[in-house]
């Protein structure tokens, strides 16, 4: 099967190819994203271990093995895809499927950052707190990981024939987008509202009004705003290009909760359930509003409503679970509104005027 001047990589070996670079087929992208999932889950497990295993004495842990073997498997698979194209007579850049170029560069970058990180730990020291999230070698590692993980999204984005994919068709790109969001949130762990337990939510916004709020209140307020942007931006980006299938927002919430529950040692389950419920509601909003670049009003309403729903459910879940409200009403009623305003602001920035 060919699409314009682009050949399908999943075509049988030896089948004729047209000129130009090939585009990876559905199966190729699905395998890429599943191997990327292995890679990411290794990192989630490592994040869990760093948060919950007190005596991590060795680099050579089972979760590191899952992480690095996931990287090796992903690297081997991408090399296989290139080799298969080479076998079919494609040379140079023509052997690299559309969307796979950044991943081909990111593989050695990741490996180089790995050795850089080893040297950093040897000569400068091992980070054990918030500094983990700011180590330059870690930032190169996570950036190259994101470039590898987002490959299926680039493939689908480049296919102009795809406008309203089914959930099955969107799955590789959707998983790529979801795991990327979760990795971004992992590296924003100092402002991650998803790891708060219901009890922590109630306690954070319970303080003497005259005292002006505790450090925990400031932390939760900042976390709500930061987490909102990380959760809403992938959807606002994706609806500029696709009419998202029902389930895309739930998938995003589910994958992000895989990470956040692991980091919180599964003590934030009621919070996680709240985010998944919000995902379902956001899917309904997507279905009803059909936001897009050409439907700016609906796009902005979607950004406002999706953000509001997420945080209204977040606080409602905590209140129901704990059987009480935080003492400072302004905080828990105002935070969802503030998040909604941030959502609209992002919508205005991303799509200033309707696309004619």
């Amino acid at each position: 099967m060919t699409l314009g001047s682009e050949a399908e990589v999943d075509a049988p070996a030896g089948s004729p190819t047209t000129g130009g670079r090939p585009r990876a087929g559905y199966r190729t992208d699905l395998i890429t994203v599943l191997l990327g999932t292995w890679f990411s889950i290794g990192l989630f497990l490592d994040a869990w271990a760093h948060s919950n295993v007190p005596e991590l004495e060795s680099f050579f842990t089972p979760w590191h093995a899952v992480f690095y073997s996931g990287f090796a498997a992903t690297g081997a698979w991408i090399l296989w895809v290139l080799w298969r194209n080479y076998q079919q007579g494609l040379r140079g850049l023509d052997a690299v499927p559309i969307g796979y170029g950044p991943a081909v560069l990111a593989l050695p970058a990741f490996a180089a950052a790995g050795v850089g990180d080893y040297l950093w730990h040897t000569f400068i020291g091992i980070e054990q707190g918030i500094d983990i999230l700011f180590s330059p070698t870690h930032l190169v590692l996570i950036t190259s990981m994101v470039l590898i993980l987002t490959t299926p999204l680039r493939t689908l984005w480049s296919d102009r024939d795809v406008v309203a994919p089914s959930l099955r068709r969107f799955l590789p790109a959707g998983l790529a987008l979801s795991f990327t969001a979760s990795l971004v949130l992992l590296f924003a762990g100092y402002a991650d509202a998803t790891v708060f337990t219901s009890e922590q939510v109630i306690r954070a916004f319970t303080f003497e009004k005259g005292a002006g709020g505790s450090g925990r209140a400031v932390e939760l307020a900042a976390s709500v705003m930061f987490t909102n942007l990380i959760m809403i931006l992938p959807l606002l980006l994706a609806v500029r290009r696709f009419r998202l299938p029902f389930g895309a927002a739930t998938l995003l919430a589910f994958v992000v909760m895989l990470l956040s529950t692991a980091v919180a040692n599964y003590e934030n389950m009621s919070t996680a359930i709240g985010f998944i419920v919000s995902g379902v509601v956001i899917d309904v909003l997507l279905l009803k509003l059909n936001p897009s670049e050409s439907r700016v009003k609906e796009y902005r309403i979607f950004a406002l409503a999706a953000s509001f729903v997420t945080w209204a459910v977040f606080f409602a879940g905590a209140i129901i679970d704990q059987g009480t409200t935080p003492s400072v009403t302004e905080m828990w009623t105002g935070a969802p509104i503030m998040a909604a305003l941030h959502g609209v602001l992002m919508a205005v920035v991303l799509v200033p005027t309707a696309r004619r």
Binding site: S58, H64, A65, L93, A113
Partner: protein, 259 residues
Amino acid sequence: MRALLLALVLLITTAGPAQAHAGGLTPQDHLSRVTAIEPPLPGVTATMVNHGTQLEIHNGGTGPVTVADHVIGPGETHRFRDERTTASQWEVPLGTSVIKGRVDVTPGPNPLWWLLITAALALGGYFLGRRRALLAAGVVVVTAAHVWHAVGSTLAVTGGSFVPLLLGASGVGLVAWPLTAVAVVAAVRRAPATAFVAAVVGAMLVVAGIPDFDSFRFSQLPFAGPADVDRLLVALTLGGGLGLAAGGFDYLRRTGSTT
């Protein structure tokens, strides 16, 4: 193909530590050991475990004994780190007795010889790239060496579960080991993928073996078996892996595209 080779070379030359010895034990020239319990306590034994980093006391006697503020009941075993055991001659009180020990220092081998052996194995591995079947056989040998090294390293650890430790020690072996079976099946079917899989497995095993270079220069290796056997396994993994990667890709380059 050049881009493919470049990516592979970068992967080989720049990859971080992905595998070494299980349980965080590292090669070294010194080894702490217990020489005696004086006066002896009936049924109580003391030994240095985990490559001389932890003292293990087993109380096979009838009454409790106290060591480092910890009471060990009859039938119990206690394992702990104690900085005192790093002195050249050391003593740790054990109830009314004392555990005596010393740190032996043994110079390591000349690493040049092992690097030469590794280079020779790399050359041998490269020449396996002349035939598909030879490449598959090479993959089996090099993978077997890596598995043996990982299992031997795991068995050198006391006090941990075998499977998680082996998993940690395997690193990228989790991918390379199953791919070895793929290489064999591909060779039996005379598939062109044989050389590709051999090259990738070889590259992965080089990455897996890089942190084990230390085995060539230290005398005491955390391995359940003779140290020279472990060094040979590391040389096979590193040299053989490098040879297979180069030989496999050379085979692909010579055979070219199928169209």
